[in-house]
Symmetry: C2
Subunit: 206 residues, 2 copies
């Protein structure tokens, strides 16, 4: 009677089985090592069904992490503008997402990344595959420096999330967004474009 | 037979009862609101016994938090030197403590601050009473700006601890200490001494 529409009500049990298999595979083999085929096998379904439910591997990964937003939707836009304002735009984007209802899910994600080795690995892969690779593709920086730059940015953002939304140290916890953008923007800008220290002696020796 | 020495073997049950009462009091009333007298009452002991076991309220607080180090032992020394190098010295001190065996306790502390509202409050009080007040007493800064400056520094340090020691995002997790001192030192320096943004419109209106 009812015509099929674009909705995919699907079978919740099948969906959950795929997500459970995906979490196990991503945690064990990492994003790059986990194949849709192996995840489908783990869930006892056909690979086509995984694509049907979740679309791409990226989308499946985000669903498996319970990520409240898709960095692919917002990062490219932020990266596309004037490089001089990139730090401030990234901080603005970060605070806007965390101040929104998605922030609650972010707090949950951060809590579980801190409490379990397993989620920590998903979190690392999230930073590398969903953020780092996008940044490297869009911002001119030496490829060999990009990972340190991105992990420095990640350290400032992780700490901002922790102090503002989880531990809630005042006055940072209730500071107006524009105050934090002005204070933290230059930090992020410097981590992305500033001079990086040469690795210490011994770091690349031997 | 055995002569009494300076050791305080004491009664482990009494000690534990005092610590439990202290944790409850600090979490409920905060550092300033919790009195040694009330903690003693909560533990069913004489206040003199609390002093006997733990010395000062500061020391009791650190013991109640399982803090691996006493900031009072190391912060004054770091603050006393040349202001130009303060950011780098603070990062060096921070990484030295976290790279030492005390870092394991730090990871435990951070995990519990993230997972429980109760520990988060102890953590906030720790930042304010053990770090902020010491910094304000030793570094020339406008008193009204000090809390935001210190919480910005806390955000960078919390994120550094999270990314290097808990979530372990590479290459930051295994970067040589001097690379991070050079990269992060200027951030801390700017948060302490740099120009702070004026609060946005509306922040102090009405």
């Amino acid at each position: 009677m009812v015509r099929r529409t674009g909705r995919r009500p699907g079978n919740p049990d099948t969906r959950d089985a795929i997500l459970a298999a995906a979490r196990a595979a991503f945690a064990e083999k990492g994003y790059d090592g986990a194949s849709i085929r192996a995840i489908a096998t783990g869930a006892g379904v056909d690979p086509a069904l995984v694509h049907h439910y979740f679309g791409t591997k990226d989308k499946l990964f985000l669903a498996a992490m319970n990520a409240p937003i898709d960095p692919g939707d917002i990062i490219p836009e932020v990266l596309a503008g004037d490089p001089d304002g990139l730090g401030e735009r990234l901080v603005t984007m970060f605070l806007t997402v965390w101040d929104s209802p998605a922030g609650k899910a972010g707090v949950g994600l951060l809590r579980s990344a801190v409490s379990s080795e397993w989620t920590a690995r998903l979190f690392r892969d999230f930073v590398v595959t969903q953020v780092l690779r996008r940044v490297m593709g869009a911002v001119p920086m030496k490829p060999e420096e990009a990972p340190l730059r991105v992990s420095l940015v990640a350290s400032q953002f992780a700490g901002l999330a922790l102090v503002r939304y989880v531990i809630k140290v005042e006055p940072l916890a209730s500071a107006p967004r524009e105050v934090l953008v002005a204070a933290v923007g230059p930090t992020v800008q410097r981590y992305i474009f500033g001079e990086l220290p040469a690795p210490g002696p011994g770091a690349d020796a031997g």
